[in-house]
Symmetry: D3
Subunit: 124 residues, 6 copies
């Protein structure tokens, strides 16, 4: 894929994952570092989310798990919404967090579940 195509593919993937509002918020990083923005779009979403073999829903299972495991709770909020957007149910998301208790311990799982509760409420 050439550079323009990678960027375009990334933008397309982001449109499936995030609302216009969230994408506008993410694009704020362009003011500080246009290069980081390009890497996020072209590598993060173009090279990774645009690949086949796994669905967006499966990719969000991976993303949520990695964010919970590393304690990246700011990004978790955005991806909990993305997970709902690409078709994971509230029940499946809760189940992902429950499964994590055995692998990362309760503190991170409880923290994640609290944020999930807030995101679910915003979607009622």
């Amino acid at each position: 894929m050439d550079t323009n195509k990678r960027y375009e593919a990334g933008i397309n993937a982001m449109e499936e994952l995030f609302s216009q509002d969230v994408r506008n918020g993410m694009a704020g990083i362009k003011d500080i570092s246009p290069d980081l923005w390009n890497m996020i779009v072209s590598f993060g979403f173009g090279d990774l989310y645009s690949r086949n073999t796994l669905s967006h829903a499966q990719r969000e299972i991976i993303t949520l798990t990695s964010l919970i495991t590393q304690g990246a709770f700011d990004q978790l909020r955005v991806h909990l919404q993305a997970a709902l957007n690409v078709g994971l149910t509230k029940e499946e998301i809760i189940e992902i967090i429950l499964h994590c208790t055995g692998y990362v311990g309760f503190p991170k799982a409880v923290h994640a579940m609290g944020i999930a509760g807030e995101v679910f409420k915003e979607n009622e």
Copy 2:
């Protein structure tokens, strides 16, 4: 679920995930701490893997991701085999690791891919 049923459910889940040999190896922990063994079986596999809502294949996506993110490469080897046993393909496992590059960086992803290569070879 009462205590016996939790343990039984755990043993059943482990039979679906791991070969007899692997389960024997895991049971070695009983010699040091029968209580840890009980927690692994009853909580880890009984309470978590025996739940519905997510399939074993989906649970292994979570498990692999969490192990890669926390750098738990000894346990990763066992769960890469379990992932194959419950129906994830070689291509899907590679894709999980590729997706992780964006979330955990290359060092852990490369380490994981190296171990995956060894596990794939054992399954040829």
Copy 3:
């Protein structure tokens, strides 16, 4: 221990560790996931804190250290109060954090000490 007894043991342990207010706050997780609440009570507090061999004070030394090491500072606040409740002194808690500097570095230790200062003030 059967299921009811595990839950009961967990509730009893929580009563020794946390005030009514804190327990009410923790129970808020039931609205999002009653299953996570059950695991916290039955496994976290029933299976772990209710065991013998280590006192509650010794268990809080472990808990505080693990939370500091993994940077789980939200949960740290609650367990700093629990540590005081089960008899660790302010001096001992400060000493735990000082000892951690050598094992986790200054950034996490300083963060923990700041929170400890706030908790100590609430207990004056």
Copy 4:
């Protein structure tokens, strides 16, 4: 170096890194634990930052990277300012964060870049 000299060397290093305001804020830890304050000054800044072989600017490259990698974003803010104070440019700091994407993944890099943007704005 004897004890007084280590402390003095630490205070001198801190004066090169941090403004009077920031140093006053950091000294607040003395109210909770004078021993932690002594360790921060004598070991952290006296034994480490006062050494030769690496410049303060090089030391801040290390510090920023370690804080980003471990997700210690509170301390990151203070050291982003220190990095500017000892002569790293805005462009170099952005570049450090970009380089980190490959080693720690995007979530921590994006978080760090957001904070860097705020610190840069305060310095305009």
Copy 5:
């Protein structure tokens, strides 16, 4: 404490914690970096382990927990032996690891228990 006294205090603490053989092994680091050796002895063992308020046994509870939480399994082996040397029983050490399952998840706890089993065998 002046510099010589800090070093001496560190050497004394190390004698209570480690066998002559282990101390000789640790001192090997002097060939690469005498400065790191000095920091380990003077800060790690002189400033930290030589303090009062907590016993050596309590300090090893902290050390073991931090090492398990950060996955520092090489250092864990040495400190499991130190824990036995300063009076923690095999049962207490097992209990520390069990308590950690709830805070760090099973993979690290299982890894730690395996190493503990080997250390216990060497002490039979």
Copy 6:
């Protein structure tokens, strides 16, 4: 940069960092996942190491620090050699590790210094 140029830039950067032998070893990952290889070369070395603003020596300071902080000791060995190749001295590398003690604690710093000692010996 278009796709071929990113790959080429990555290969060029790798030639400055690593010996032919090491590059051959790294390329082994192609047998398992040619896509991961492409990402390593094009993103890791093409997009990141080929940028200006920071020298290769400065980039290796970042890389070493991140690897030490996350405990990625397998990759550390390769990058310790790369650090020497791009002009960091043995004394500077030791100093990077010493500086890390204050930010990540002694266990990881000691582990890193042990590996550095082995790499230095191979370069005598």
